[in-house]
């Protein structure tokens, strides 16, 4: 990343309210290119709303969000930002491999197969690539969603509770993919309760009732005071 590169994410007065209930903001937040940020907060603190505002799935009530120098939701922002959601969504009538082809090509990656094979192997889904992900168990769906998020090029990735339903091997694979993406220069914003992920991040942003209550490095915060950081759950039995 060059020094002149725009921030990966920049929000100014970003606000979302639902008929008088303030979900987020006003929020002023800047994430530098290549920065790895953990977004923490208790349930209902506004993490998911913030992520959905950044993807363009929600429209701000006030303020603005910019992704890699482009307004959130614009074509250029969509090209720059990958979203790994907590609730994976698939087409009922496409296999996992067809999903991968489709997503990769939509994002301009014509040589998608080597990358897809690499990802399928990383999460242990090589043998199931021709099955319908809509019929998968919760954990396998999450692994399939991980493949879809990483098969396309991106400068910024926003991730919402990525470890839900994953077994230990799946979590390790995902953490490794995060490391590789970060090493490749991508900025990561990960909303999570997992201590292992928080510890690896360069910066922690804690939300409470839609406002930032802490913004600093992992060593500076008493995490237990900020949020309930959950220990890693037991491996899911498939």
């Amino acid at each position: 990343m060059s020094a002149a590169a725009p921030p990966a994410i920049a929000t100014a007065g970003l606000t979302k309210d639902y008929g008088g209930t303030l979900a987020v903001g006003p929020l002023d937040l800047v994430v530098a290119p290549g920065q790895r940020v953990s977004l923490i907060g208790h349930n209902g603190s506004g993490k998911t709303t913030l992520i959905r505002l950044l993807t363009g799935m929600l429209e701000p009530s006030a303020g603005e969000a910019v992704v890699a120098g482009h307004p959130a939701g614009s074509i250029d922002a969509r090209a720059a930002l990958a979203h790994l959601a907590d609730q994976p969504v698939f087409y009922d009538d496409l296999s996992l491999r067809e999903h991968l082809e489709y997503i990769a090509r939509l994002h301009g990656r014509s040589e998608w197969q080597p990358r897809a094979d690499e990802l399928l192997d990383a999460v242990g889904l090589t043998g199931r690539a021709d099955e319908l992900p809509s019929t998968f168990s919760r954990g396998l769906r999450q692994k399939a969603a991980v493949c879809l998020a990483f098969v396309r090029p991106f400068d910024v990735m926003v991730v919402d509770e990525p470890f839900v339903g994953l077994d230990r091997a799946g979590r390790e694979s995902l953490l490794e993919l995060f490391r590789l993406a970060h090493g490749g220069g991508a900025a990561l914003v990960i909303a999570t309760h997992e201590l292992a992920t928080v510890a690896e991040s360069q910066r922690i942003v804690a939300l409470r009732d839609g406002a930032v209550v802490f913004d600093g490095q992992p060593g500076e915060a008493d995490l237990d005071q900020l949020v309930d950081i959950a220990p890693a759950p037991e491996a899911e039995s498939e």
Binding site: D92, H99, L106
Partner: protein, 521 residues
């Protein structure tokens, strides 16, 4: 990137076609054609029993354009409301996640669903309009073919107007209050055209529906206006908002499943979510906490639910009540099949009113934890619903009195009993959908019987509500106070019987199951 979109759509279409059971599809079309055709023929015969008099024909062609134009205006008004709530398009949740968030023009993604929505709305509305043409041909001069064609064409335009107006409203981000205000202004304007000498915005559409007998080239303005709306909507389709599309994408797939399962309550709830309709935060009337008997607690609970009825639902109920009044007038004037429409409208009105009961049915776990018999609880929850219906009954009667002043006394006398019987059908529907707490096991039911049972689950409640339309038919055949009194007594008996069934049904089921268990070897 657009190649990827095209390839995907081609793959999915091929797969869908490959998955179709063609024999099954042909069988469904065959069944639908037989039942649909039979229904239209039977209805046509019913209409034929009272041919329009010369004065009625003059009235139809004099007042018809404005009255029929109201349908087009209502379609535009509904479109305004739908668009301000994020309608009319609904796309798959996966399309929202993977296509609308992909770096491609949203216009290329949304054009196809927009065209499909236009097509389906035009097709459905043209079928309804065509059936209207069949009915009109029975009583009015002109060839059946001309009436069917003009009815279908006018119906199609109405469907197109709805989709185009909704899309424009959505794309322009018109707020709900503004959309409601514009919709209300349009309806008031057209109403003035019906009752006065004003030219209404929907008159040309109404005139087009009468082309079965009277063709005027100037009416093609309606076609031009509709095409203009479609072009504007098509130009704006890329500006449709992702947020409502995401919300609707999740809900619509659930809605389709609920419709497949004929789960009426779920359909009602999901449609309310699609409209963003929620109970009021601040009730219209506050009820202070109080002690007292269990029965008093139930009544207060039901009144509290009613007091949070959102304004939109009240408006919808007013519309249903007014339309029921119009249907009653049609029955009295000789259009017998209108009693089916009246029954359906009263059923829908009842469904809106029995919300406290529906909430209780939705939460069987809470109900089963109460130290009170379920049937008794359900019946007592209906008191507030009946109270809520009083003003709507008066509204329906007022509509009848306005159009048929001679029938005013009978209308006001019968109005409340009629809407209560309409509500009784909704009660049957709601209570039958409740889980069965006394079922010991699920008996095996062959598919043929299950299909029949599902159909009955929907038809029986509507049939009960349709009984409420019989007094209008009776008043036509034998006008007089004796008919009114007999109707009220008859309705009271049916309503009491249904109340008794609700109270006792668990006991009867238990007794039946004991009997069946005792008969087993």
């Amino acid at each position: 990137m657009h190649d990827a979109l095209s390839d995907l759509r081609r793959t999915r279409r091929a797969r869908r076609l490959g998955d179709v059971e063609w024999f099954d599809l042909a069988y469904r079309v065959y069944i639908a054609a037989i039942f649909g055709g039979s229904a239209v023929i039977v209805l046509s015969d019913q209409v034929g029993d009272a041919e329009a008099t010369p004065s009625q024909i003059t009235s139809v062609f004099g007042d018809g354009p404005a009255v029929l134009g109201l349908i087009a205006v209502l379609a535009a008004a509904l479109g305004l409301r739908s668009g301000s709530d994020g309608g009319p398009l609904s796309i798959e949740a996966a399309d929202v996640r993977h296509l609308l968030l992909a770096p491609i023009e949203r216009r290329s993604v949304l054009t196809r669903p927009f065209v499909q929505r236009l097509r389906s709305a035009a097709f459905t509305a043209s079928i309804v309009g065509g059936i209207g043409g069949v009915l009109a041909a029975q009583r009015l001069p002109g060839s059946p073919a001309a009436w069917i064609a003009s009815g279908a064409a006018a119906g199609a335009l109405v469907g197109l107007v709805f989709v185009a107006v909704a899309s424009i409203t959505h794309a322009l981000r018109v707020s709900r209050p503004l959309a409601t205000a514009v919709a209300a202004a349009l309806v008031v304007w057209q109403s003035l055209a019906i009752f006065g000498d004003v030219t209404g915005p929907g008159d040309r559409f109404g005139q087009l529906a009468l082309w079965g007998y009277d063709q005027r080239p100037g009416d093609l303005v309606a076609v031009g206006a509709t095409l203009a709306l479609i072009v504007i909507a098509w130009c704006l389709v890329g500006r449709l908002r992702v947020e409502p599309l995401a919300r609707r994408g999740d809900l619509v797939s659930q809605l389709r499943f609920a419709v497949t399962m004929q789960d009426l309550r779920t359909v009602v709830l999901l449609r309310r979510q699609l409209r963003n309709e929620r109970p009021r935060r601040t009730p219209w009337l506050g009820l202070r906490p109080a002690g007292g008997s269990a029965r008093g607690a139930i009544w207060r609970r039901s009144w509290r639910g009613v007091a949070r009825t959102p304004a939109g639902r009240l408006g919808r109920m007013a519309g249903l009540a007014g339309a029921s009044g119009l249907a009653a007038v049609a029955v009295v004037r000789g259009t017998t099949p209108a009693f089916v429409a009246m029954g359906v409208l009263l059923f829908l009105l009842g469904l809106e009113a029995v919300e406290p009961l529906s909430q209780e049915i939705d939460q069987p776990g809470l109900t089963d934890g109460l130290p009170i018999a379920r049937g008794s609880l359900h019946v007592h929850l209906l008191v507030a619903s009946a109270g809520l219906l009083v003003p709507f009954a008066a509204l329906g009667a007022a509509v009848v009195a306005l159009i048929e002043p001679d029938a005013a006394a009978a209308a006001f006398a019968l109005a409340l009993p009629v809407v209560l019987l309409g509500m009784a059908g909704a009660v049957v529907s709601t209570v039958r959908d409740a889980p069965n707490p006394v079922a010991a096991e699920s008996p095996f039911v062959p598919p043929e019987m299950a299909g029949f049972g599902n159909a009955m689950r929907v038809l029986v409640p509507v049939a009960v509500s349709t009984l409420a339309a019989l007094p209008a038919w009776a008043a036509r055949e034998e006008p007089g106070s004796a008919t009114v009194v007999r109707s009220i007594v008859g309705i009271a008996l049916v309503v009491t019987a249904i109340g008794w069934w609700v109270t006792r049904r668990d006991r009867w089921r238990t007794a039946w199951q004991r009997f069946v268990a005792g008969a087993k070897p």
